[in-house]
Symmetry: C2
DNA sequence: TAATTGTACTATTTCAAATAGTACAGTATC
DNA sequence: GATACTGTACTATTTGAAATAGTACAATTA
């Protein structure tokens, strides 16, 4: 189940894009799978169809999905997904790490913090990192 | 010199807060130092005085600076600065690392990427991580 | 006194995001 | 063919945070 944060500074359509990518990578969504229709998805998520449409359009532009009028939207067969997400996340991390370094934060502290994230089980379907 | 990105999704006043914090940590701004006046800073940065005021108010609330009517705004003596920034950046990194993990990105890749950030010299006064 | 400081307002503007609604073309099903 | 679904393409409107514009006042400095 996809949960959106309507209060976030991150636009809904971008959150949606990220969620779909994540579902695809963890295998809850597989190549060739049909995504919910723009209208149904919007209804289920409680947002406007145009918002879903924008997310789909972006995803298609990025080669993640493809859409056919009258049929629907489907996860693309070619999975550049993982490498694409990988690049995306690593880039984010590098950017923040860069700033952190500028502020005199030690590399070891960052390593420790991130290693801690990777400890323990991957059990919950929660999308937010717990505090 | 502080350069703001007026196109960024991040509000100007937040960018300004971050910049000031960074200047403080790297020692370009020292405890007790007087910050530019709201009006002068706004003029220099090319933004509205209210925007600077908001940044200062936030910084004072966080204990980074203190302001006295008629005198000015000054960097606080008590430097919780570093620990405060540290917490802030580590939290950001953890959050993204969490998402990255959810997407099946390996720990080693993250470590490698971040270590690369920490290689080389700290020479430029550029604030953005180069691509 | 004059100039500067921070602070506190209100009003207005700006802009991206989101919503609302309509319309049209392609597909599937009966 | 008829109906219902799909994606797509618009326009118009609303919303809300951010930023701007302007004024006013109290405290400090010179």
């Amino acid at each position: 189940m996809i949960v959106l944060d309507l209060q976030s500074r991150v636009p809904i359509y971008e959150q949606l894009k990220n969620k779909i990518c994540e579902l695809a990578v963890i295998g809850q969504l597989n190549p060739g799978d049909q995504l919910p229709s723009v209208r149904n998805f919007a209804r289920d998520l409680g947002v406007n169809p145009n918002t879903v449409q924008k997310a789909y359009q972006d995803l298609e532009r990025d080669g993640i999905i493809y859409s056919v009028t009258g049929k629907g939207s489907f996860l693309n067969e070619k999975i550049l997904l993982h490498s694409q997400l990988e690049r995306q996340y690593l880039q984010k991390l590098e950017q923040i790490a860069w700033q952190a370094r500028q502020c005199g934060i030690k590399l070891t502290q960052i390593i420790d913090a991130i290693q801690k994230v990777y400890e323990g089980e991957l059990s919950n379907d929660n999308d937010e990192k717990p505090d």
